[in-house]
Amino acid sequence: MEKTLRTAATGLAAQQRFVELIAHNLANVNTTAFKRVRAEFQDLLYERLRTLGSTAPQGAMESLHELQIGSGTELVATTRSFAPGDLQPTNNPLDLAINGEGFFVLRRPDGTLLYTRDGAFRLDRTGRIVSIHGYALEPELLVPESAQQLRISRDGVVTAQFADGSEQVLGQIQLARFLNPAGLRALGENLYAETVASGPPILETPGTGSMGELLQAHLESSNVELVEEMVNLIMAQRAYELNAKAIRTADELLQTAVNLKS
């Protein structure tokens, strides 16, 4: 009976975690390029109880003679879905969206590379194109102060236009692609770091293969699907209630047992 209480408690804890994840997804429904997170559950250890009367020889029927009772569930992993979000037009020429699998490459001051889908860029004091975190876009692109307009082509070529009508090519943006984006480590703030599981980044210019092209003056919105999250929320709540029901049943059985001797 005590085991039931503990088993059901693991179910309650796991569903509570699930609700926390859903809340995190819902809270980020308006976060640029946010990628939703999915929960993965796994069952816990099994206890094998041998029952009397299992006289049949080891073999075909063994699975019927074993009494196996597991001890609940746990949330083992969270998987991020890198499905694309909707691309929304903005009026900012430094807003970029990728309509494929690629990631922007950012260089932190300490030299390490980070990856993001959030294409809301700006210029820093020296004219470098930087992310909203202040990290420089890789390869570094310097925009001359006298530039009037910036044009970024679909394959990432950044061109500055000057007041006299002349143009200057500043460079080409490189994107990174991963064999297994689900293996990336999320650092928060839309930043991801490479891991052994994600594999090394494959650097290519936009427009090659499945990398995707760049859209200037567009931003990728969050890929959180409200309906899906609401359905998950309902499921989590019902699962929570069912586990609570198991606890209540255990409690009532205990009470009945206690009442055997009045």
């Binding site: 699975s63 074993e66 998987t79 064999l179």
Partner: protein, 261 residues
């Protein structure tokens, strides 16, 4: 009289086991690929034994309950992750651990390792018709051929319904999907099963199954059935309780009677 007490108590004990199982099944309502464990209770005393008043199994020490795994399929859930695979129809995926031991599972959530294997969350690797599947990573990194460069036309990693693993359109392996007699499996955990010694694993032909990419098989726990179980086991427990209370009362009367003899 005491025998009634004993039989009633024996009827109550398996209800606790049933409750433990139901709680475990309910806790795994959200575990992908989970196969529920059910209990069946054998009769305490056969009819014949009862007629001849022969003490039956009721006198054995353990309540005669056994559990078995329900292998019915769970609902398919869309995830959109290219490394999530679901099996429609018969069969199991085969995964192999570091020691070379093979396990069967219907949970097809894999991740790509640095050396190109498809790995389960607990570190076992997906097996194909010619050993553990390895994806040549240089193939994944290679750009699609000029002719196929139409964007998005060729997904980098594709699993066909027949179980062919294709990278950039190039066939790199065939998933091994096996069938087995269900009595020949031993549960390892909620989603993985080990074949018992002597079990025959027959590779299935592609007509007998369909591999669906981007879907996962959900838990086959049915919340309504588990709830009914909860109600039923509680009532059975209470019935046992009634029997014990009334035989206790009868015993009490008999003892009182003896005072006047």
């Amino acid at each position: 009289m005491l025998r009634e007490l004993y039989v009633a108590a024996l009827g109550m004990l398996p209800q606790q086991t049933r409750l433990e199982l139901a709680a475990h099944n309910l806790a795994n309502l959200s575990t992908a690929g989970y196969k529920r464990e059910l209990l069946f209770q054998s009769a305490l005393i056969s009819v014949e034994q009862n007629l001849r008043n022969v003490p039956g199994d009721a006198e054995s020490a353990d309540p005669p309950v056994r559990s078995y795994t329900d292998f019915s399929p769970g609902p398919l859930q869309h995830t959109g992750n290219p490394l999530d695979l679901a099996l429609e129809g018969a069969g199991f995926f085969v995964v192999q651990d570091a020691l070379g031991q093979r396990f069967l599972t219907r949970r097809g959530s894999f991740r790509l390792t640095a050396d190109g294997a498809l790995q389960t969350p607990d570190g076992k690797e997906l097996v194909g018709t010619s050993g553990v599947l390895r994806i040549p990573l240089q193939l994944l990194q290679a750009q699609p051929l000029a002719g196929e460069a139409r964007q998005g036309a060729v997904p980098p990693l594709e699993v066909t319904p027949e179980g062919e693993l294709r990278v950039q359109g190039v066939l790199v392996g065939q998933l091994l999907i096996v069938g087995v007699q269900l009595g020949q499996l031993r549960r390892v955990d909620g989603v993985q099963f080990a074949p018992l010694p002597g079990a025959v694993l027959t590779p299935l032909s592609p007509e007998e199954y369909r591999v669906r990419q981007g879907l996962l098989e959900g838990s086959n726990v049915n919340p309504v059935e588990e709830l009914v179980q909860l109600i039923e086991l509680q009532r059975r427990f209470e019935l046992g309780h009634r029997v014990i209370r009334s035989s206790d009362a009868t015993l009490e009367r008999s003892i009182e009677l003896s005072r006047f003899v």
